[in-house]
Amino acid sequence: MIEFTLWDIVRNLLLAARWTVVLSLIAFVGGATVGLVLTFMRLSSRRWLQRFTSLYVDLFQGTPLLMQLFLIFFGAAAMGHPISAWWAASIALTLFTSAFLCDIWRGCLEAVAKGQWHAARVLGMNYFQTMRHVILPQALQLSIPPTVGFSVQVIKGTALASIIGFVELTKAGTMLNNATFEPFTIFTLVALFYFALCYPLSCYARHLEKKLYDAGLR
């Protein structure tokens, strides 16, 4: 039997953490792109687009991420198009992230005071001019702290991809545990790795929130 030193464990976790970071980035960039499209669909005056987006958001917010992952991974296979754990995790996390970001961003747009619309309107601005110069810049500023805050949820969400066999931090931890039988050491280290990824983001979100507060926008 191979002996694992602490450094061996840390090194392996570090290597696996790369995939946690990569998967998080894919989920976030993909989720933000789809989420942005959804946000504008939600703002559209077409009723069916509004209905579609709220159904979409409710669906992905109202079911566990794990089920979404299973449905995509096993569903694709059941339909005769098996996909890799990479693809399944990327797609599921993108959809999940987009639903939450759409909802966060819609809230930010609605949080801009109604009086801003009125003021812009009596100054002669049309819908697009008001959006572009008055509402979006303020909503963007409001959206940064909750968006950064949600990215922490995305990072932790990637842990679920381990269940369909995607080797990231959690999966690597499980595999190392199977070889070393030192669950306490290993999962403490895994938790510390997640914390090291998430904590700076949480701090950054708090910092941004304070900055916003100081700017008098809240």
Binding site: Q116, A119, V122, G124, M125, P137, A215
Partner: protein, 242 residues
Amino acid sequence: MTLVCVNNVHKAFGDLQVLKGIDLNVAQGEVVAIIGRSGSGKSTLLRCLNQLEQHDSGEITIAEQQLDAGSMSPKELSENVGMVFQSFNLFPHKTVGDNVCLAPVVVRGEARADVEKVAREVLDKVGLADKYDAYPAQLSGGQQQRVAIARALAMRPKVLLCDEVTSALDPELVGEVLRVLEALAAEGMTLILVTHEMGFARDVADRVVFMHQGRIHEEGEPAELFSNPKTPELKQFISAVL
């Protein structure tokens, strides 16, 4: 010349009749103060004048152009009517100068340099030339409201609507805003103000309109109206607020 002509205007919110047939003519250069209890329809009338609310029936004409749903774009409307709100509604993410410059540049497509010159003029007029680069959050309520007035003036409207512009201010800040309005009135600006400042209505307005339950209940010259109210409702209102 009659600038604003309101003819038998009705407006309801659901079952609630807020305006029950308003007739009001405002001549160019005239200063009209609208007074009355809350819920009497004053603000709704004002908001109908720039289509923040659409009246149900009757006619509103501004500078000889009829105001119906969609008859004037926001841009065309802004050439005629400016408005200042109770809650200022400055754009918090823009400096004072940018607040004033935004609409002329974006809506009218005027050259930035020209607009900046106008902005400095109107800010000077409201006594805030030195705040050009400040953000709204750095200003007092009175200063913010004066910026809002300057912002409206930069669009050179024919008539300026003021919706309880001093109601959100601390008492010691009311004066500075009223002085700006007084100066505008003296320059010949047409003003329609909904106000709770009876002293101001008496001293500055050419005409005071008392609204009661969705109708114009009594109107006339301020001195006459305040010292010699004809209806018991106005009498009661005056004794309640003075």
